[in-house]
Amino acid sequence: MRRSIGLGLALSMLAFAPALAAGGGGGGGGGGSAPSASAYDPTADYQKGVAAFQAGQYKEAASAFRKVVDAVPRNAQAQYMLGASLLGAGDYKKAVRPLDAAVKYDGKLIEARRDLGVAAARSGDTKRVDEQLAAIRALQAGCAESCPDAAKLASAIAAIEAAQAAGTQSSAVVRPEVRLASAASVDGSYVAAVGLINEHRYDEAIARLDSALWAAGPHPDILTYLGFANRKLSRFDRAEDYYRAALAVAPDHRGALEYYGELKVERGDLAGARANLARLDRLCGFGCYEADELRRWIAEAKPSAG
């Protein structure tokens, strides 16, 4: 029935809260929010996909990741993992589309640019190969040789150039290089990340949450705290993307609604913040901390917002 931060404790996470059958029917919701009866948990398929990918069962992995992508098409990790699985299965042409989507939703995802370049090279799509090489070189130029991603960027260029040299007739199997933290480490990463956020160590928290996101998939709690940490670093656009991603997975996620509302207050969008609060009030018929907190933010913003 439970036992992980991601699926149990999960604090603001409601859609996948533990629930006991009491006569058949709908979905659970704890003390506040009731998710829709057909709430889909993309993290379950994501983790199935990761297990299959790690076992080298790329077709099975692609099948699982495709379900995730169908549910949350703007999730760069899931799109990437689908593309990498298709690449591993030797389906280079089909790999291009999800890898394209991955770089569209996260232009700094080096692995996605690398594998898109490799898949394009194997498919004979020289235009895409050149685009990805140029994009990675641009990242390299902005990064300088000493930045943390320097080695990864150099290795990505080498991988694309090797695929380009091998050409479309090569029979060599492409093994996508993906390092995923174990699912068992997700709880620890999540708790540590929230602790780091409480200590205002946002960059470290983001690193932990990123690792958890790759291992767990698009879990709304993780996405919400990625939004929160980015917001505290004044990366408002990125924060908004994460909040919206969390709400795409779990539209009634109280934490995402609260923090997204706070972001709206910070941007001066009080009407938008009030809309989030109205939604929280509908979800929290018996009261909840998230609604109280957003109400306080709006009240404190009012005088200066005039």
Partner: protein, 292 residues
């Protein structure tokens, strides 16, 4: 809010696997110290017990998880079944100096400690009038669990309740069945506390939040198909409470309406709810429904 057919209990999120029945079906027996109760203002004691059972008292992650003081100290005692992944060692322990809850007392070590039974003497004096206990309670609320600054009346109320928690005499039953009456009693205490808090808007607001939380706990137990009408009435009662005007009269009238109307309707259907041991046993035996 509950939905037809599923019992989504937050309590299970901090309950060790296998202990679901022990936590959902029974509660430790309460044996208040009669001398303390006799010497304490009943409204203060009522407010204290209501706040003790309300997650709104705490802040940050604890409040988001809907943890109240009573999550760890059931009926003011301990909770040998408390288990939060990464924050507990063995069941019944918690690392309260983890920055997950608050950075104020974080020590960067995983050092869960056994949750104490508050009926037993502790390191802080509980002597009547000794300010050590309210000071200690404030530290727990604000520093350990990121709660907002409580008013002095709130601290006095919580301290009064903690002082009243007593050990049970030898031979007394360790536990008793959990009933709808438990929640109805806590609602009554919360309203009494709020009604007596005219000079303290924070205590009033917190007491109302405590009453609404108890209505939510009843809602959880009336998850069965066919009880949706009662759940709608519970929600309406909660929203009425949230919109009440200032003053004790409005609170008393609300409670009079509740006690004469919805409470007896709930009591009449209690045997169909998850307060009923047979219904609960069936729910616990049924496999949890996976998301579609």
């Amino acid at each position: 809010m509950a939905r037809d057919g599923l019992f989504a209990s937050r309590t299970l999120q901090w309950t060790a696997p296998g202990a679901e029945w022990a936590v959902l079906a029974e509660a430790p027996h309460a044996c208040p110290r009669t001398d303390v109760v006799a010497a304490t203002d009943p409204a203060m004691l009522a407010a204290g017990e209501a706040l003790f059972n309300s997650p709104a008292l705490l802040g940050g992650q604890a409040a988001k998880a809907e943890l109240s003081c009573a999550a760890c100290h059931r009926t003011g005692r301990g909770n040998p079944h408390f288990l939060m992944p990464q924050l507990s060692g063995a069941p019944g322990t918690a690392d309260v100096t983890n920055s997950f809850f608050s950075p104020a007392r974080a020590n960067a070590h995983f050092d869960p400690v056994p949750i104490p039974d508050l009926a037993m003497p502790g390191k802080v004096s509980r002597a009547p009038g000794d300010p050590a206990l309210p000071r200690f309670v404030r530290t727990l609320v604000v520093e350990e669990f990121s709660g907002a600054e409580p008013s002095s009346a709130m601290l006095d109320a919580l301290s009064a309740y903690v002082r009243s928690i007593g050990p049970c005499p030898a031979g007394a039953a360790a536990g008793e069945p959990r009933r709808l009456a438990d929640q109805l009693r806590l609602i009554e205490l919360a309203i009494a506390g709020a009604a007596a808090a005219e000079a303290d808007p924070l205590l009033r607001r917190q007491s109302i939040a405590a009453a609404r939380h108890q209505l939510g706990l009843i809602d959880e137990r009336y998850a069965r198909p066919g009880l949706s009408g009662l759940r709608r009435q519970l929600l309406a009662a909660s929203l009425d409470l949230a919109r009440l005007e200032d003053g004790a009269d409005a609170l008393r009238k609300w409670h009079a309406r509740f006690a004469a109307g919805l409470a007896p309707r709930l009591e009449r259907r209690e045997r169909l709810s998850l307060y009923d041991s047979a219904v609960l046993r069936r729910a616990l035996a049924a496999p949890a429904k996976a998301p579609d």
